[in-house]
Amino acid sequence: MSDIVISVHNLTKRFGNFTAVDHITFDVQRGEIFGFLGANGAGKTTAMRMLCGLSYPTSGSGNVAGFDIMHEGEQIKRHIGYMSQRFSLYNELTVSENINLFAGIYGLSKKETTKRATQLLERLNLHSERNTLVKSLPLGWKQKLSFSIATIHNPEVVFLDEPTGGVDPVTRRQFWEMIYETANNGTTIFVTTHYMDEAEYCSRVSIMVDGEIRALDTPTNLKQKFNAMTMDDVFRTLARGAKRGE
């Protein structure tokens, strides 16, 4: 199996006259934590939807987890995980019901589901809460649970869309430790965030401005290149030049 898990070439998406994503090209290696940054309206969500097999590019090509984004969207959906702050779990179902539902959607066998569910509950220390409705869990637990569920089928790559909003700094770090651990076990992480300190947790970071990727490198190299102390400074230097608003 190749060690490049995401590969896109000149990926472009137009809506009428508006070019939301403009010829972006990059590769992501297995086990990398890849930060996908950009101001609101820069084209991140549109790009991410194409990578997840939810929307087709206007032109260009791409490959995710070994499948072509133009023709094999359904296969991609089965081989990736996805978590966003806005939607991940069903609030009106219990912890166990959510686990079983998503395991079923990802096509895990009954035996495999039981095994993975036990592991997951143990790891999160949620065994005593398995029959609790998800809506009554604290936000930090919900986020850890949705991340675990998004990776229940051992996907090649997991997409995290602003996963950590609103939680305290201790919980946020526990969450990033889970991300590190998952990446260490060979799952590729593709993450968007508005927290610039989190950008520094990433192996490499890309910054989108006006639909294009304007910078892509390790946080250390980016800071050097832009003569900046923090990723926040790098981001602001680039995003201030944006021509289009949200």
Binding site: L139, G165, V167, V170, Y180, N184, H194, D197, D232
Partner: protein, 299 residues
């Protein structure tokens, strides 16, 4: 007289103590930040101070007026921008602004000088429905509406949540400008990096205030030794460092991990213990608000 004075204020919802005997005061003209995660009690406190809720216990005053007894007077003196967009999506930008002016018995013209630095950004879209604005523009309209009656105290509940780093910075610039006009501002945020934009901050968690001070004095009180560490395998470094001698804790912090140590810690001994790690570096580092918050939370 303080602009805001809070005395042992408590509020519960069922069994949840949203706010547990909170006491502090805000000076006139201060830009005061409430910093804490979801569930800290920030929104409950704002709803109490803007007279939208009554406390279970304790008391508070705004410009000397009691939040229970004088709620009517307070309502015309405070401006409130809730965390959720609460304008009328089917009214245009201009209609929303006129509506709020009419509610408070003022005209847009009277307050134009105050809102101009903010409103001028969205004025070109004044005939657009509020529901059709982008996130950043909605935020500017909501702030304009909250300012239309020239409030004495302005409450902003998580105004920058979900907003990108550039727009967040611009928003804080606007607040600094409002401060120069004598408006007292209380703003809440989950972003620790915004603390430095405030005159004073209260760090809050689970209905309690952990500490109140200027951002600089809060970090000055940090009393452990703190190092930034790096190595090739950052995940394993975390686990191994936690087991090392003299380490209180170790947690991810941007591109490094932060290592909090006690008097048993010895630099050379630590390097020996972690001898297997390639490219290990360890350097003393200055604590940030976030390091302090982590320390206070664990207490």
């Amino acid at each position: 007289m303080y602009a805001v004075e809070i005395n042992s204020l408590s509020k519960s919802f069922g069994k949840t103590k949203a706010l547990d005997s909170v006491t502090f005061a805000v000076e006139r003209g201060e830009l005061f930040g409430l910093i804490g995660p979801d569930g800290a009690g920030k929104t409950t406190l704002f709803r109490l101070l803007t007279t939208l809720l009554n406390p279970d216990n304790g008391s508070a005053t705004i410009d000397g007026f009691d939040i229970v007894k004088d709620y009517h007077t307070i309502r015309s003196r405070v401006g409130y921008m809730p965390g959720r967009f609460s304008l009328y999506p089917d009214l245009t930008v201009e209609e929303n602004l006129n509506f709020f002016a009419a509610l408070f018995g003022v005209t847009v013209e009277e307050s134009y000088d105050l809102i101009a630095p903010i409103y001028s950004h969205i004025e070109p879209f004044r005939t657009r429905r509020a529901g059709k604005l982008s996130g950043g523009m909605k935020q500017k309209l909501a702030l304009s509406c909250a300012l239309i009656h020239r409030p004495s105290v302005l409450f902003l509940d998580e105004p920058t949540t979900g907003v990108d780093a550039v727009s967040r910075c611009e928003f804080w610039d606007m607040l600094s400008e409002l401060k120069t006009k004598g408006i007292t501002i209380l703003a809440s945020t989950p972003y620790m990096d915004e603390a430095s934009r405030c005159d004073r901050i209260a760090l809050c968690d689970k209905g309690h205030i952990l500490d109140i001070n200027t951002p600089q004095d809060i970090v000055n009180k940090y009393d452990s030794n703190l190092y930034a560490i790096n190595a090739d395998n950052m995940f394993n470094l975390l686990e191994a460092s936690r087991k090392a001698t003299g380490v209180i804790e170790c947690y991810p912090f941007g591109e490094s991990h932060h290592l909090v140590t006690n008097e048993e810690f010895d630099l050379n001994h630590y390097k020996e213990e972690l001898g297997d790690f390639k490219n290990l570096t360890i350097t003393p580092t200055a604590p940030t608000i976030e390091d302090m918050f982590i320390k206070l939370m664990k207490r």
